[in-house]
């Protein structure tokens, strides 16, 4: 017979969340990252405001996020890099840091379960990330109202919120990964490097690797359809692809399909008139798999960290 634990596993959860958020928000590490995000937002917003295509009045606010001026990428381009960095910075020393400071056994000797500690740390990190991103988001919208002189439409706000949600979910994946490594590796530096390597691998090398694999398959089989499907499947294993695809469709209502277009589809689109924007519900349908993929990835990574942490001995 398996013994059943008594008492709530969530006891003390919000105490841990509050402490983690207080720690993060007052730490030097987060201060530096916040300054970087703020500067990036200010610069890209300035560029976007100067480069907004004149005459078009559709989705001006969404263009604040996506308009770029060479050589600088748009704000969303920077977010793709900064969000994983912040998420990893929030999570890489969460468990091993407690272990090395010898606070872990003392905290676990209080009447809480390990569940509350791990989930509290995860939620604390996620809330911090959400807080920072929401603040930046509000700032951009606010400055946009100020400079453009018009309020955002309901659809713009809804799309903007979806974009925020996707960005937080994308951060959740890297936070989850960083926490898995922080449970697995005793040295915070090792955990940070491991998390950054995985991130680099998926952001920089994965695309190249997919290209090579698809080329190899192309030599072996001549089917174009199969090649395209394979490429799409492999590319979407990377959370980076999922994130880029989802914000592409959310912030550009004109986007009607994701991934490389087949000639047939392209011709069809021509016939329908490509430039007419999709309604929000259709854009949402388009990125639904990507969004759920990001959230599912976050949950899976947290579950792995949870299992590892539950099995861990709290002394060396």
């Amino acid at each position: 017979m398996k013994p059943v634990r008594e008492g709530s596993p969530w006891r003390g959860l919000w105490v841990v969340v509050a402490k983690e958020m207080a720690d993060h928000l007052t730490s030097v590490r987060m201060g530096i990252l916040e300054v970087i995000v703020l500067v990036t937002a200010a610069v890209t917003l300035y560029m976007a405001l100067r480069n907004l295509p004149s005459g078009t009045s559709d989705f001006l606010f969404l263009r604040l996020f996506t308009t770029s001026q060479e050589p600088l990428p748009a704000f969303v381009g920077f977010l793709g890099v900064l969000v994983p960095l912040i998420a990893i910075a929030l999570g890489f020393d969460s468990i091993n840091g407690e272990f090395n400071r010898r606070t872990l056994s003392r905290v676990l000797a209080q009447p809480i379960y390990r569940d509350a500690l791990l989930l509290g740390k995860f939620l604390g990190g996620l809330c911090t990330l959400a807080l920072v991103l929401t603040a930046i988001w509000l700032m951009i919208i606010g400055l946009g109202i100020f400079r453009l002189g018009v309020p955002p439409t309901g659809e713009e706000v809804a799309r903007g919120l979806l974009f925020l949600l996707a960005t937080i979910a994308y951060g959740g994946i890297w936070l989850g990964l960083a926490m898995v490594f922080s449970v697995r590796f005793r040295q915070p530096a090792t955990a940070a490097l491991a998390a950054i390597s995985v991130w680099l691998f998926f952001t920089v090398f994965w695309g190249m690797l997919v290209g090579l694999i698809v080329q190899a398959v192309a030599q072996w089989s001549g089917q174009v359809q199969l090649q395209v499907q394979l490429e799409l499947f492999l590319a979407r294993l990377s959370p980076h692809t999922l994130y880029v695809e989802s914000i592409l469709a959310i912030l550009n209502p004109e986007v009607r399909a994701l991934g490389p277009l087949l000639l047939v589809q392209f011709l069809q689109l021509e016939g329908w008139g490509v430039r007419s924007p999709l309604p929000l519900s259709q854009s949402l349908m388009l990125v639904w798999p990507q969004l759920t993929g990001l959230i599912a990835g976050t949950i899976v990574l947290f579950a792995i960290g949870y299992v590892l942490f539950q099995r861990q001995e709290i002394r060396a």
């Binding site: 634990r5 003390g12 010898r102 003392r106 379960y113 002394r315």
Partner: protein
């Protein structure tokens, strides 16, 4: 007899092939100060972690205050104060903030928490440094902060793992004084250590651990009888003729050693100071001093582990 506070039955913990704790049967009653004594790696900390539900036993069971640490760890942990070896705090927070976090984790309401934190810091002599960051604290202060943290729970049982490790003699002495105050408050204390004289100074009963087993258990006197074979040593300082022969003739004598010209050490089955004095006077020596050497844990420990390694 007082009620049983901590009880284990065939408690066993294996890590792969290594047996950390081997069929441990332990009973500690309310108000006792029990010392777990043993070299590093003898299973002391593992036993403590199992009592707190922080590590799962491979076999056997434990009860703390009537609760099963495996199934009801929250009940156990809200009643038991635990000071781990080398206790750590959040360096960037103040002493007060560190304790406030613990109080919240224990679900104490804010006014109760504030009062108890202030009381605990006051009692540990840390009231003046309550608002200083723990990063600036010395080892001894951290240790006292650890005790303050325990006190704020108002625990029924206190478990201390190597509490005096790394403390200077003065701080260690103060620390033992604190443990004595727990005893006065009728709090049950479980103390693990490898520093024998300290255990001897505060513990009512002692369990000697070796390779995951509790090999001997009892009061210091009982241990002495078991391990040292019931020997009493009487020290006699006397000037005059050689007393070795005469002392050896005493019925209860085991052995006599002449340590120098006027100092003798008599090992006996009983306290034979009276006979020794009588014999010395009869032979015509001047007795300068006579004393009974109390068995020290150091000796028991040494003697026991000599025996084990020899076997």
């Amino acid at each position: 007899m007082n009620e049983i506070v901590i009880e284990t039955h065939n408690l066993t913990k294996r890590y792969g092939d290594i047996v950390a704790v081997d069929n441990l049967n332990l009973t500690i009653r309310a108000g006792e100060v029990f010392g777990i004594l043993g070299p590093n790696g003898s299973g002391k900390t593992t036993t403590i972690l199992m009592l707190l539900g922080l590590t799962e036993p491979t076999d056997g069971w434990a009860r703390v205050l009537g609760f099963d640490p495996m199934r009801q760890p929250l009940e156990v942990k809200s009643r038991v104060g635990y000071l781990p070896d080398q206790v750590g705090f959040y360096d960037e927070l103040t002493a007060w903030e560190n304790l406030a976090y613990t109080a919240k984790l224990n679900g104490l309401a804010r006014p109760v928490a504030q009062r108890r934190i202030n009381e605990a810091l006051e009692r540990m002599g840390l009231a003046d440094v309550a608002d200083r960051r723990v990063g600036t604290f010395s080892r001894g202060m951290r240790q006292r902060l650890g005790v303050a943290e325990i006190l704020l729970k108002h625990p029924q049982v206190i478990i201390l793992d190597e509490p005096t490790l790394g403390l200077d003699p003065e701080a260690a002495r103060e620390f033992l004084q604190i443990i004595r105050t727990f005893k006065e408050e009728k709090i049950t204390v479980l103390l693990s250590s490898h520093l024998l004289h300290q255990v001897q100074a505060v513990c009512d009963r002692v369990g000697l651990f070796s390779h995951g087993k509790m090999v001997v258990e009892g009061t210091v006197m009982e241990l002495a009888r078991q391990v040292l074979g019931g020997a009493y040593s009487v020290h006699l300082r006397a000037v005059g003729p050689d007393l070795t022969q005469a002392l050896q003739k005493l019925p209860k004598t085991i052995s006599v050693q002449r340590l120098n010209s006027d100092l003798y050490k008599v090992e006996a089955q009983e306290d034979i100071r009276g006979e020794v004095a009588r014999v010395a006077v009869q032979v015509g020596a001047h007795v300068l001093s006579l004393g009974l050497e109390e068995p020290s844990l150091d000796e028991i420990y040494q003697r026991y582990f000599q025996g084990v390694t020899a076997a």
